[in-house]
């Protein structure tokens, strides 16, 4: 029999077979940090650094200028109209797709997702060709005093085009998973359609709805390409915050451009904060947190 002696003074630490060595692990983490620092954190910091280059007073003064105030007001108005409309669409589409069985469902979902694969500039071009003065519909509308392109309705349509799938996409997987049993139970107990929606469905999907609306709003306020095409960038009338940023930048008003950009960057940060909070607290209700 052989003697087995354990050397107790030097305990050997074994690494689990399903883990990488600490060196590999820390290298990968470092690459993640460095990559995101260069690509994400640096641009974010740069916005605020340039905005405050001449001191905070200069930034605030440029934000109080007429152009900036008009742009902020217009962007808020656009978001206040297009986001609720898209939320209504998202809820209706999710209800239609998940509560009924019909032919061509997959095709309908593909059509709803279509705006994600269309360039914003092409989206704007489509709106111009549909509603511009040279088109059949647009010509008639302009003749009757309802211009769409180079006016607010065009900007709203362009914004809705690029943000179209956001809410529906978030709601559909959640509502598929929740099934129809709860709604059917409420119906057999005699509840009306609207009552079923407001007391059964809506409470089940509210966080997912909020999540979709949040992302939709961030994109709606920040949309540039599609809006640049349809708006005509008329100061005080159709210049949104992103298009005003571009105009100020081209006039070498760097502080003014970056101050307005900083306002939008703060909006993005608030969006991320709310989004992360939703993901931590209501992960069970969000489609994004599950396997697609």
């Amino acid at each position: 029999m052989s003697d087995i002696t354990l050397n107790k003074t030097e305990p050997v630490r074994f690494r689990s077979a399903t883990e990488e060595s600490p060196a590999t692990r820390w290298t990968l983490i470092a690459i993640g940090f460095i990559g995101l620092s260069i690509l994400v954190f640096a641009p974010l910091i740069a916005v605020f650094v340039v905005a405050l280059a001449d001191g905070i007073a200069a930034s605030l003064k440029s934000l109080a200028s007429r152009d900036a105030r008009d742009a902020i007001r217009l962007t808020l108005t656009i978001a206040a109209i297009s986001v609720p409309l898209n939320a209504i669409f998202g809820v209706a589409a999710a209800w239609f797709i998940t509560k009924f069985d019909f032919r061509g469902k997959a095709f309908l979902i593909t059509l709803i997702d279509l705006p994600f694969s269309v360039s914003p500039v092409v989206a704007g071009l489509c709106i111009v060709l549909m509603f511009g003065t040279n088109s059949l519909v647009g010509g008639w509308l302009v003749a009757n005093g309802y211009p769409i392109v180079f006016a607010m309705p065009g900007i709203i349509l362009a914004t809705m085009f690029v943000t179209f799938p956001f809410v529906a996409r978030e709601l559909i997987p959640v509502m598929i998973e929740q099934g129809r049993a709860e709604e059917e139970a409420a119906l057999t107990l005699g509840a009306s359609g609207w009552r079923v929606f407001f007391t059964v469905t809506l409470p089940n999907i509210r966080w997912a709805l909020l999540y979709g609306v949040l992302l939709c709003n961030a994109r709606a306020m920040g949309e540039f390409g599609a809006v640049a095409v349809v708006s005509g960038k008329i100061r005080g009338q159709t210049a949104t915050m992103p298009t005003t940023i571009e105009m100020l930048y081209q006039e070498y008003l760097s502080v003014a451009a970056f101050s307005l950009a900083a306002v939008l960057a703060m909006l993005a940060l608030v969006t991320l904060l709310l989004k992360t909070a939703l993901e931590i607290r209501h992960a069970d209700q969000l489609a994004t947190m599950r396997r697609h």
Binding site: A17, T18, I29, I31, G32, G35, I38, L39, V40, A42, P43, L44, A46, V47, V50, A92, A93, F96, K99, F100, D101, F102, L108, L111, I112, P115, F116, S117, V118, S119, V122, L125, C126, M130, F131, M160, F161, F164, E184, L187, G193, V196, F197, L215, A218, R219, G222, F224, G225, V229, M241, T243, E246, F258, A261, A268, L269, L272, K275, H292
Partner: protein, 278 residues
């Protein structure tokens, strides 16, 4: 009798939800895209070909596509790495890193373009460092590449992350007990499982990059034949009220993005069949 178009259901609200869905989809998405295609049809295939078949247009289309491909490949590698780090490792700052991945989704493209230009311009923070080794980034194709990497950053990470979360440790343990090295397990067990999701993210990043405008035009410098992207050509044609030419380039871009999505879908079907895993 064939299958009914819509099955009978006790659920209320069929008419209302179908009406809202189809009306808004048609009015906002389908009819405008139809107007673009109609414009192209009126212009005629010959006219469209004449517009697109010019050096400046080909160069811009090829440039947009090529740089988008490079950026998507970069994001594929970096995105999978980042997803792995975020799911598997516990370290200080993980939450912040996780939230930061989504910033390109939340930050308006014009703001991103502006700040990337400020950083990478010859007098910017990174631009100055690069200039010392004689590397010019802003106003060259490198600048466009960086902007496209930025906008496509979240896609791969966000599609791959949930898949890594669902991989069962037992699979890796089985591989290890059979004598596979960690690298072998990674290469032959884990990566195949991630492939379909990673390709989906890659496709989304690519589609986004090809059409990207806002973040690119500030940093690109927009020199014809050198750093001019395809969406900018549409804007230029529109500013000259040349709607036919704008429509022709727009249709060309639509075709490219649809072709790309089709190819990627085919790859996905293929990899799903080969690996037998969604």
């Amino acid at each position: 009798m064939g299958r009914p178009l819509i099955h009978r259901s006790p659920m209320p609200g069929l008419g209302l939800s179908m009406g809202i869905t189809l009306t808004m989809l048609s009015l906002i998405v389908l009819l405008p895209i139809g107007a673009l295609l109609l414009k192209g049809a009126n212009y005629g295939l010959a006219g469209m070909w004449e517009t697109v078949n010019r050096e400046r247009v080909w160069t811009a289309l090829f440039l947009s596509f090529r740089l988008s491909l490079f950026a998507a490949v970069f994001n594929l590698v970096f995105g999978v790495l980042l997803a792995w780090v975020l799911v598997r490792y516990q370290f200080w700052g993980r939450r912040i890193l996780d939230a930061a991945v989504d910033l390109p989704f939340a930050l308006p493209t014009a703001v991103a373009g502006l700040s990337l230009t400020a950083l990478y311009a010859p007098r910017g923070f990174f631009g100055e460092m690069a200039a010392e080794i004689g590397w010019k980034i802003a106003y060259t194709q490198w600048g466009i590449f960086i902007a496209l990497v930025f906008v496509g950053l979240p896609f791969v990470t966000r599609t791959v992350q949930p898949v890594i979360e669902e991989i069962e440790r037992e699979v890796e343990e089985a591989s290890a007990t059979l004598g596979a090295s960690r690298l072998y397990t990674l290469r032959h067990v884990i990566l195949p499982m991630l492939t379909p999701a990673a390709l989906t993210g890659f496709a989304l990043a690519l589609a986004r990059a090809v059409g990207e405008y806002g973040s690119v035009i500030f940093i690109a410098g927009n020199i014809p034949l050198v750093t001019e992207i395809a969406p900018l050509l549409i804007i230029i044609q529109l500013e000259e009220f040349n709607y036919d030419a704008a429509a022709a380039i727009g249709i060309a871009m639509l075709l490219i993005s649809f072709a790309m999505l089709l190819v990627i879908n085919l790859i996905q079907i293929w990899s799903r069949r080969r690996i037998g895993y969604v």
